[in-house]
């Protein structure tokens, strides 16, 4: 079992200081911010390295940080053998939200990334089936963004709400 701080040290040894940022937080668990172009490598390392073995991606969520004009993806990882947990975050500018897909590492990410694309418009580089999942394919806009406006008509039907 390792703490986030220890894992952060291991990651810095492997990938260098600039891709990673450690965020301690007194309220809840700390997290590590990873550069959008590095997440795939970091994820693979976290899954395969002895002593880390993060074999399960519990949750992958998109977040819209309205004030900072940023979109984010939060990864909640857990290891069934080592019993530790880790939170990773990727932050991207709102206009050009693009991040590497981790679908090849944890299959859980397949549908979760599609959902994050559907709801926030975050693009996942290298995702094999990159399309909307919950909304219809020709829906306009990204519903969970804070500045979302519902379209007036969908295929000639008035959209209530």
């Amino acid at each position: 079992m390792k703490s986030t701080e220890e894992i952060h040290k291991l990651l810095v040894d492997q990938f260098g200081e600039e891709t990673l940022e450690y965020k301690p937080d007194e309220k809840v668990d700390p997290w590590i911010v990873v550069a959008a172009g590095k997440i795939q490598e970091v994820a693979k390392f976290l899954r395969d390295e002895t002593g880390l073995r993060f074999d399960s991606l519990m949750c992958l969520s998109g977040v819209h940080y309205e004030k900072e004009e940023q979109l984010g993806v939060t990864y909640h990882l857990a290891s069934t053998s080592e019993k530790h947990k880790l939170t990773l975050k990727v932050l991207m500018p709102q206009e050009d939200a693009q991040v590497q897909s981790v679908e090849q590492i944890w299959k859980t990410a397949d549908w979760h990334e599609r959902e994050a694309f559907d709801m926030f418009g975050i693009r996942f580089e290298g995702h094999p089936d990159h399309r909307r999942i919950l909304c219809p394919d020709d829906w306009e806009g990204y519903p969970l963004r804070k500045d979302y406006k519902v379209q007036e008509f969908y295929r000639g039907m008035k959209v209530e709400y």
């Binding site: 949750c59 069934t80 693009r123 394919d137 519903p143």
Partner: protein
Amino acid sequence: MTTVKEKSPEVSVTPPVDAGNGLKTQEMVVNMGPQHPSTHGVLRVQLTLNGEIVVKAVPHIGYLHRCFEKHSEEMDDYTKVIPYVDRMDYVAAMSNELGYAIAMERMMDIQVNDRVEYIRVIMAELQRIASHLLAVGTFGLDIGAFTPFLHCFIEREKILDIFEKASGARLLYNYIWVGGLMNDVPADFKKDTAAFIKSFRPQIKELNDLLSDNKIFVERTANVGVLPEKVAINYGVSGPSLRGSGVKWDLRRDDPYSIYDRFDFDVIVGEGRMGTVGDCWDRYIVRVWEMEESLKIIEQALDQMPDEGDVHEAVPKKIRPPAAEIYCRTETPRGELGYYIISNKKTSPYRVKARAPSFVNLSVLPAISVGAMVADMVAIIGSVDIVLGEVDR
């Protein structure tokens, strides 16, 4: 640069090929659902078939999408989110409420008293039995066994009666609140629950006689839809579907929440008794024996439950948590239900994401149905036990 598909991929069917006997064969695309009794709601699975063999299965979801996450952000009250989480997994609403309440309590550092904890655990375990009864009953119904379904529903009804007495509702309770409960249980709650345990225990044996060891049922489910351990973990499958693959993983034991560390119970795993480990029969039998384990927990909880304690003691007047975020997971009848909640010191959450177990469990369907017979799709979907309200949220 990623290519984003604006539309679902066009259905492409391979051209006819010569079968060698003067006849030609061709792949066929069949839509199973959205209106299909054994998809347990509105799920569409686009099946590509080679004769009777499934070559490819693509689930299409979203027909029940209400975007509860957006609603939660605009509720202006954390407590008003609870009725919405009820409506995710509408056959296990208590478990959804419990997960949300625990997440919020951890975030705000609220301690609830023992009486509340015990009532919550009893309710959650009764809910697990009710949900598993529905799961195994309808699973049998999918395969063609009608009688066990009726037996299961008679028992389930008794649990719903207990819930109704306590909360006033039969399905969507809004009973477990942040910091406590809606109200205390009625005076004869202990008596009712004990009576249910007594009458229900022999019924599990009857269910086994009727369905579990039934030759026709075993033929339809053993060695069908095998989900290997590694695949299950990589896809994030959880709950009875994961344990059916032989993985001893239960959050109640491995990442305890509430007061589950006070109880003695076994984690049931599939052993491949009728076929291969991780087949439909294993996923089914895990649910059957988990009901027995839940009975054990309820019995212990009834014994230990204190008679004194105000269930409103820790309920905050207005919930205004500090700026924080939390990911909190609990074991619902379907698996790991996680809530990722971000607060920004306001009275409504900044973001609520529910990691629904059915959503993740369903995503493994394409991987385990390739090579199956088309009739077995019914068994495979039934054995994963999805609730579409939770898949689509």
